[in-house]
């Protein structure tokens, strides 16, 4: 059979089947999709390839799925550190955004973020920010997969004025990209405290009709719970449950403040949690009880959050931090073993985004979204355990190759689909525009 690409690799972690590790095998790609995984010794009798890549000290993994972020905020990296969520958001981030965010900011900031994400092995990211059409444009140009969650708020911003206008724009964005192979869409109601019941009801109905996820910050901090009890007489979770939002379509971002009955309901109803451990720690938001969520059957995916609260978009950091934190929080060193952290960063993300039939594992018929990581470095030798090394020991700079839909977008340190110098220059330009009295 003639194929487009054969990637031979010392190790392959396809993620499905669970915790599998193949040795001296290859991934075969044709027409953007994976057609087979087989031992290298069987290749000759079966496949003739246009391109063959030999990776003798590497591990192939599904391209990483960053399930929550605000890409354009890469331009605000480091402007407001070591502050609580409310102080950070209300006195710094929102005022800075008000003065600076426009279409160019979003396009150029997203390009900066995409460059960082590709170089650290991410092939798909979920994004919640203004001008999602600019985010989509940047992703298409770079040939990376994205799910844009169109923001929805009760109050006016540069993107829209009323909840209805936000919702209308979200449906238009969905319509615009419904047949795109790289761009997927979601509704992005910001948080229970920034959106009222009526628009949430509309979003629920529309999400069912369009069959797309709802991406929402939920139970990020204690204050959010207290404020909701004061305003609505109940916890945000209960309010959302009453509105019918606790469904498999919901991606509950953060979720550091869950009671055990809320975790049970989430598990029973098939809701997804997007865990952002670095951001939660940096903003002292609280601890997400990942171990209990997993044991109750909740699908837990991983996100970096935006670079203003992490401050990195590096999913290697996030896998490592998630695995370490889950052990510490659950007082159980066996919690969240390395293969499970890799699942959270791949197939669980794909599932949350509703595209796990297309990506998230290295299986025939899925898109060839693949990341190669060299383990032949002082910090990952001896290779006593390749999947452990990926999660606990590897540096994202060991990512050598990234493919999306079988197309090479990163090769030995070089971004193939992006102009790195232009991106660096643009970042420096925006640096000068951030009001100094709000930064630091």
């Amino acid at each position: 059979m003639k194929v487009d690409l054969i990637i031979k690799s010392k190790w392959i972690a396809p993620v499905i089947p669970k915790a599998t590790l193949l040795e001296d095998s290859a991934v075969i790609v044709k027409d953007k999709r994976i057609v087979d995984l087989c031992p290298q010794e069987e290749l000759k009798t079966q496949y003739i390839a246009e391109n063959t890549v030999h990776l003798s000290n590497h591990i192939l993994i599904p391209g990483l799925v960053n399930s929550h972020g605000h890409a354009a905020m890469a331009l605000l990296r480091g402007v407001a550190d070591d502050l609580s969520l409310n102080e950070w958001l209300e006195n710094r981030i929102w005022p800075i955004e008000q003065g600076i965010v426009n279409r160019d900011f979003v396009l150029e900031g997203t390009n900066l973020a995409i460059a960082e994400m590709i170089a650290s092995g991410t092939t798909c990211f979920a994004d919640m920010y203004f001008f999602p059409d600019e985010v989509a444009k940047a992703a298409i140009s770079a040939n990376i997969r994205v799910q844009t969650a169109s923001p929805i708020l009760d109050f006016s911003t540069i993107w829209a004025d009323t909840a209805d206008e936000y919702i209308l724009k979200a449906t238009k964005i969905h319509d615009q990209y419904r047949n795109d192979e790289l761009v997927y869409t979601a509704f992005g109601p910001h948080a229970p405290y920034s959106i009222s019941d009526e628009p949430l009801k509309k979003i629920r109905v529309l999400a069912d009709e369009l069959d797309i996820p709802i991406h929402m910050h939920i139970h990020e901090t204690k204050k959010e719970i207290e404020d909701s009890i004061a305003e609505f007489g109940c916890r945000p979770f209960e309010r959302l449950h009453n509105l019918g939002l606790i469904t498999p379509k919901l991606n509950s971002i953060h979720s550091t403040q869950l009671l055990s009955n809320e975790i049970s309901i989430m598990g029973a109803l098939g809701t997804n949690v997007i865990h952002c451990p670095s951001s939660n720690m940096k903003l002292a938001s609280g601890f997400c009880d990942v171990n209990s969520l997993i044991h109750q059957g909740v699908n837990v995916a991983l996100g970096t959050d935006g670079a203003a609260s992490n401050n990195s978009l590096n999913m290697f950091n996030e896998m490592r931090t998630a695995a370490l934190l889950a052990k510490a929080v659950s007082d159980d060193a066996a919690a969240l073993p390395s293969y499970q952290a890799l699942e959270m960063a791949t197939i669980n993300g794909a599932k949350a985004l509703g595209i796990d039939e297309l990506i998230g594992s290295l299986e025939p018929e899925k898109f060839a979204d693949i990341t190669a990581v060299s383990l032949n470095e002082c910090n990952t030798l001896p290779v006593n355990n390749p999947i452990s090394h990926l999660v606990y020991a590897a540096n994202s700079s060991q990512v050598t190759h990234v493919w999306v839909s079988g197309e090479s977008i990163y090769n030995e340190g070089v971004l193939i689909t992006m102009n790195k110098n232009q991106i660096l220059d643009s970042a420096l330009k925006w640096q000068d525009r951030i009001p100094k009295e709000l930064a630091l």
Copy 2:
């Protein structure tokens, strides 16, 4: 004035004075030592240098001080993950060590670890392992600074048979290297549960006589406390306090289980804590209350611990994890700001090791132990806050140059004093010798 080396850099974080950031300045080096820091514009009128290095997008920091580890265990990276400390130590690490550890293991494992540490910006490391003379030999050959804590236990190992023999060997090692500029020594009684009172009393007296630190795992887990109460009728801290060990000479490693009165005593008596956040999380040992320790005046330094329980020797990971974890644990996003994490990884380490008059900051008369980090990458632009970027956003692969005593030991990805290929080959050789039934 004729000098040996001028390093011009866009930014310099000298660490002392506190939280300082110099722009467009230079570090001047002569006879292994820093002689001056000055603005670049003043250079011409003052200094003529043999070598000048221009770093236009970089930040210079004091070489990082890794204040606790077991370097040779780099060869055991990934052999026993996702297990509790007791299971990990008693059923995996100790049996594996018994079968495999010898002089060659220590020399070659330490070389592997040193290569990883240099490439991630570390210029000094504290080490507790068998055959400390091999560790010293490796460090001298690589031109990196080390403090070897000679292990002391009640029971027999490949290094010695009785506590007295361990102590004798420790004093001999001290004598051997007392005049070496790269090698410093300490006593390394393993932990309260592995050493009895009599040898601890001897160690206290000898540490005072020789004026060197005592490096000891203390209050790492709950079980250690419970066992001590059962055996000695008191917590390990109380026992050590009664033995007179709570002094400025003591480096208390881990210390995840401290009561507030114990923290007060530590602060009052000037004891040091070596915080190893990744290892503590990975082994679910508990949370070290760094914020309280700092507020009580305890000097808190940072260590990676060994690669079998981290699994990386990367101090950038450790600074980031420490800063994030301190905020989460103390429920205060303002806890452990980035400049303080950098202090913990530099001057506080030097202080714990008792060599803060020699290293730990970029100040005249100190050894020129310096690390340069490029910030001109997608993940550290815009440079809204260079010190924040170092801690929260930078990848250790952005380390471009490392000097120890003014000698270049790392230059743009190349190890100058070590043979990288030989180190990688040696790691693969040892990989084959680890008994497979004990690994994984």
